[in-house]
Subunit: 187 residues, 2 copies
DNA sequence: AGGCTATGTCAACGGCTGTAGACATAAAAA
DNA sequence: TTTTTATGTCTACAGCCGTTGACATAGCCT
């Protein structure tokens, strides 16, 4: 391997991690390359050098998160519980990136420069994989309806700060969500 | 009344209308005051003069749309049909501004400068009025869940461009939505 | 030691943004 | 007619943005 390559790859990864954290909390245009550079302790020009453009950096953030998701074999009838738990942030392990990716996607959903990337990422990495787990006709449509509920809940909780939905598992919110998802996924 | 007041109020209204149209299709920071000025055929400084700041302009856009909404007395059991029709854009009358306001709110939901305005507008003009129509305990929570479904559907259709949800009333999408809303609003 | 390459810095550009103050003009009032 | 007021324009200011090319430095290889 080439000299000093390890260090370069390391800072590149740190940039990616910082970008992921930033894009998680602000929309595409509200994240500045200078913010990311400051996080890493590096000049702005370097992030521009490693990832050719801001758009590509965002693309790499999305690409880097689409690996370990749904690879375990989940039975179709377990999907509602699984998806509800994901959205309500059960098991606060720091390596669960499923909800993070959904949040990044939603944050920048209406950013002209990012909307195209966001849409295909959502279709290819979220809708289609889940639809493949689902037997019966019209799988994509049913999954789309289910994710309407899931993204809606996420938007209400995270973006709109709607109080009554913030207490995670209390008041049987999770059970209600599971019930709705079952009806949504049914034919 | 003061001289030339009619003309000033007229251009001010034109600005508001243009701003509404712009905020409907772009998020808060992606709408430029110069765009609005160009729509009206006027200099940038004038929109700055009439509405002191961009933030206040956005505020006035939101305030101007919260009048004719739900003032007709809707029975609680008709709410699911009513809300589903609203989100799916039945009756394409141009004076139906309900969905427009929801779209503006959602577009700028994650814009730092606008998020506060957006959150209170959503709570005071959407959640609370509907909750007042609903008998029984925990009304706000049930309405919040119902609007999770509604905003989720809207996000999927409008922002994410999810194909299977775009054909409005076909495949019984509206019926499915109504069913989900009934379950969401039930105790 | 000397050269070379990977890694990173610095300065700056062009463009866009919201905002502010000085100025112009047309219409109403005196 | 002269004065005043409402309406709108012009210029410009800081500030941020992504992007670019030239330069510095530290470590490896020969």
């Amino acid at each position: 391997m080439s000299p000093r390559a390890k260090c370069a790859a390391s800072t590149r990864d740190t940039m990616l991690a910082s970008a992921r954290r930033r894009f998680l909390e602000e929309s595409y245009e509200n994240v500045g390359l200078r913010d990311i550079a400051r996080d890493v302790g590096v000049d702005v020009a370097l992030v521009g050098r490693y990832f050719g453009s801001k758009e590509n950096l965002f693309h790499q953030v999305l690409r880097g998160m689409r690996c370990d998701w749904l690879d375990s074999d989940i039975r179709a009838e377990d999907l509602p519980e699984f998806l509800a738990a994901m959205v309500l942030r059960k098991e606060e392990a720091e390596d669960r990136e499923d909800l993070d990716r959904l949040l990044i996607i939603l944050r920048s959903a209406s950013s002209p420069k990012a909307s195209e990337l966001v849409r295909t990422a959502f279709r290819e990495d979220v809708i289609e994989p889940v639809a493949r787990l689902l037997p019966g006709p019209d799988a994509e449509r049913r999954v789309a309806i289910a994710f309407s509920i899931l993204t809606g809940t996420t938007v209400m909780r995270t973006f709109m700060g709607v109080g009554p939905l913030l207490d995670c598992c209390q008041h049987g919110l999770e059970q209600k969500l599971i019930g709705l998802l079952k009806e949504a996924l049914s034919a």
